[in-house]
């Protein structure tokens, strides 16, 4: 975990510059789309945010499997951090989508397959974080949350292919099928993708640092409790300071 923490500042700086560049390109470099107008510029952050949510939940799945196999605390911490950051990007996707939909479709929300499955994904990871937040922090909680993390990630391919499997109002464009985009739009999308990826990594590292601090606090708390329970039995060993 420590080499990642060393990356924190360079990642923060890179994320800041790239996000600013992505906003500049989305607003000034990319041309205005003919039918949807300016609101289409939400696309440059809506799509990368959805991709980062998928990446976050895929990391949760991998780390949860690693935790169930090895019992590694680091894998568990990574799963929690990735779930939180993935949920942030899923929230951004769910917030920007309705704004775009209101302008393009005339409604804020419709119970379309893509939208509904994304909302289910979001709810699954809210449940994951609630489980971790409200249950007593022990091996049982970690195992339950690992299983829920894996089950939640199974919704990711359903969300991704929902536009192919069911008739939806959501555009059916896939990442690999964007050849039809104007070159400036494609460039803006690529920069935004990179910016959001670096931002995702920067936030993940920050969240992992917090988890490391929590682990240090828990170890220290256990030491203090141990010492305080031992103290009445061995008062002489304290040097008679009290």
């Amino acid at each position: 975990m420590r080499p990642l923490v060393r990356l924190s500042l360079p990642l923060d700086i890179a994320a800041l510059f790239l996000v600013l560049a992505a906003f500049y390109m989305a607003l000034f470099h990319a041309p205005t789309e003919r039918t949807m107008g300016d609101v289409q510029r939400i696309f440059y952050f809506h799509v990368p945010s959805a991709m980062m949510a998928f990446l976050g939940f895929a990391i949760v799945m991998g780390a949860s499997i690693a935790f169930l196999v090895n019992g590694s605390r680091r894998a568990d911490a990574l799963a929690q951090a990735a779930a939180e950051v993935g949920l942030l990007f899923c929230t951004i996707t769910l917030l920007t989508g309705p704004v775009w939909a209101r302008s393009a479709w005339g409604v804020w929300w419709t119970w379309d397959a893509r939208l509904s499955t994304t909302l289910i994904l979001w709810l699954l990871y809210v449940a994951y974080l609630m489980l971790r937040g409200y249950m007593k922090e022990d091996l049982r909680m970690r195992r339950f949350s690992a299983v829920l993390g894996i089950l939640g990630a199974l919704d990711v391919p359903i969300v991704y292919f929902s536009v192919k499997w069911w008739r939806t109002q959501h555009p059916t464009t896939f990442i690999m099928e964007r050849e039809g985009l104007h070159p400036a739009m494609r460039q803006s999308l690529r920069v935004a993708m990179l910016a959001i990826l670096v931002l995702f990594l920067a936030l993940l590292v920050k969240r992992l640092s917090l988890e490391r601090l929590r682990a240090a606090r828990d170890a220290m708390r256990a030491a203090v409790e141990q010492r305080e329970t031992d103290a009445p039995r061995t008062p002489v060993l304290d040097g008679g300071s009290r």
Binding site: G37, I92, V99, L213, A223
Partner: protein, 115 residues
């Protein structure tokens, strides 16, 4: 760590304000000169992009765009703030525990959060 996170949160808030205030004044500003294939068509002889209705529609779309971008910045700002608060809270707890350890004659547990 706490200061860095706090600085980042403040910077995010400043950027949100900057982007919202200093964004392009009208939809036409945001269209590049060489993007004729994608920009809205000019009405012949008028030199204007569509009717008053189109202009209203464009303004409305631009407001939705700003709302969308605003929500992105607010979400990021709120998350960074919550991270910053979490780091601050755990840092304070570690300081308290350190003090308790030292009070109870510690020495073995000198390893701090950075250790």
């Amino acid at each position: 760590m706490r200061q860095k996170s706090g600085g980042f949160a403040r910077l995010a808030a400043a950027l949100l304000i900057a982007v919202t205030v200093a964004g392009p004044a009208s939809p036409a500003v945001s269209a590049g000169a060489g993007d004729l294939a994608q920009v809205e068509e000019m009405q012949p002889g008028t030199g204007r992009t569509g009717s008053a209705l189109d202009a209203r529609k464009s303004a409305s779309r631009f407001r939705y765009l700003m709302l969308g971008y605003g929500l992105i910045w607010v979400s990021l700002g709120v998350y960074l703030l919550s991270l910053h608060r979490g780091v601050g809270r755990v840092g304070r707890e570690i300081e308290e525990l350190k003090a308790r350890l030292e009070e109870s004659g510690g020495g073995a547990q000198k390893r701090g959060p950075q250790g």
